[in-house]
Symmetry: C2
Subunit: 331 residues, 2 copies
């Protein structure tokens, strides 16, 4: 049999296990040109919450009563396609199923000898590319500048900060537990880290940690932390709006102080960033990240949850900040 996970209904506010449905299906067989895949590692990511809405976004919404999909590393179990053979490992946007057939469009082979398979969902996948391309193309981070990162202990944030250090910047991270704060400073080399849950005044904490002000803010969370970052932004500052996890589960329009005054006063750039808009940059980004990884200039952390059945819970745990680094389900 073949376990699968469907979107049962569109979540209202914070998603719950009731929004997902497990179904048992028959294991499919590949037709000519197709491959049969067995899922090995499933990536769960905050942006998937956006696809559970019906509204317009940068990526097509999931349909109710259809399988959810995300980045998955799978093994080729049987192949009717000359380009893939049994035992190959591939990375692709695949459905939350133990077994599935693919027509191979969008599948990329990955080499388990170069890096652990799960790394292809993280530092050598969209996560790493997001960090690298966002900083390069929007942040245009320069040596000696101050880089502030929110969601800093998350998959993207922890890589962003390390790239900042490689580039010779002061790097300050924001995260939500003392354990993460220690990790940022000890494992990832951040100069300073702020626990936004225990600090009395996030704006003041940023000011203290960034005595020269903030030149580049890589935002994974939006909301009040974005406001506080902008209070401390320098002239010609750049904000990479990569994520807004603090708002994803909002059921009413989130309100906040208007930002246009600050943008004008400080000649600040804010740009919404979706890595899929930069497909041409993927190759160079992966090459650079792989080089840094081999030179031990960069490291990564993963939170690996075991068992296909745990996939929905792992996704829900993202919104509680239970992951440190990339959240991955191992099957």
């Amino acid at each position: 049999m073949n376990k699968t996970i469907y979107l049962k209904n569109r979540p209202s506010g914070t998603p719950s296990l009731n929004d997902f449905e497990f179904k048992e299906e028959n294991k499919p067989s590949p037709d000519e040109g197709e491959v049969l895949l067995k899922s090995k590692y499933i990536s769960v990511d905050p942006y998937l919450r956006g696809r559970m809405r019906s509204g317009e976004s940068y990526i097509e919404p999931f349909k109710v009563n259809e399988p959810i999909e995300s980045g998955i590393i799978a093994e080729v179990i049987s192949s009717k396609n000359p380009n893939f053979k049994e035992g190959d490992f591939v990375n692709g946007m695949l459905q939350w199923k133990e077994f599935q057939v693919s027509q191979v469009a969008g599948l990329n082979k990955v080499d388990p000898n170069t890096a652990p398979l799960s790394a292809y969902l993280g530092i050598l996948g969209l996560t790493g590319i997001t960090a690298y391309v966002g900083l390069e193309k929007i942040g245009k981070l320069k040596e000696g500048e101050t880089l502030l990162v929110s969601g800093a202990a998350g998959a993207v944030g922890s890589i962003v900060g390390q790239i900042g250090k490689i580039k010779g910047c002061r790097v300050v991270g924001i995260a939500g537990t003392d354990e993460k704060i220690q990790k940022l400073k000890n494992d990832f080399g951040f100069d300073e880290a702020i626990n936004y849950k225990t600090t009395g005044n996030i704006g003041e904490s940023i000011k203290k940690a960034c005595p020269q002000g903030v030149d580049v803010y890589f935002d994974n969370v939006g909301g009040e932390i974005l406001d506080a970052a902008l209070e401390n932004i320098n002239k010609f500052g750049r904000v990479i709006n990569c994520g807004a996890i603090s708002l994803y589960n909002a059921t009413e329009t989130p309100m906040g102080p208007r930002l246009e005054g600050t943008l004008i006063k400080k000649s600040v750039l804010m740009q919404g960033f979706t890595v899929r808009d930069y497909i041409k940059e993927f190759g160079p980004a992966i090459n650079q990240l792989a080089a840094w990884l081999q030179e031990d200039k960069i490291t990564y952390s993963e939170t690996i949850v075991e068992g296909f059945e745990q996939t929905p819970q792992a996704f829900l745990d993202l919104f509680k900040g239970k992951n440190s680094g990339k959240m991955i389900v191992k099957i």
Copy 2:
């Protein structure tokens, strides 16, 4: 004697005549290297409100009990500087005084035979340059796109719209009186114009006037009109945050819907724009604007108020939208 206008106190909320003080001073005499200037045309601009605050901004605040300054066209009355002679006309950041002495730094000669003197405060001055450089450098407006402009009948807005038409775009303006709406369509060639004061729903009106969505939004007003523009922004849209006149007199932090979600979903760029950051572009911008003016491809409107004593009132009238095009005081 020599009439002058000082900042009496920092306005709280909407400025009033009480915030200004007229003083009579002696007419000064130039020292070696200096010139004596007689003010001919004074530019009053919304951004001056920002300089009346004590807080940090992109330009130094005015001091209480010191003269206000803005762009002024003046005549050289007597000169002790070899580069300027009696009868020359100059453009510079000068004080609100009938007569003043200048050490000539920052003065540029202007030719009354090339264009009317007042044009050097408008289309051939910072106003025109703001429109041109903002569209070119941040908007990166392309043929066939839809350009939305707020404060469209104002000094900058009316030029922005005309440049949009020269570039082959659909141009939609937002203004606050039916007279201005007619002017936008009849005199400035806008494709469509919206009276934000009488339209029931500004978001719906923009949607109707921009059936292909908004590619570039040149924002002079901020606030709810910015929100409505972002409701209609296209993927890869660009917002030039040039002004926020709707917020300049706010006494409490203006609140609004958070915009980061839209920025991310649509890969939108918002950038605060201050023309003084682009001094290198001034020359090419003026050349292009002067060429268009001579080719009759572009026109401009002015609201000229007569009398030095009217300067504070002319400034206050900006916030009531009493001007159409550039607001100028003629002395």
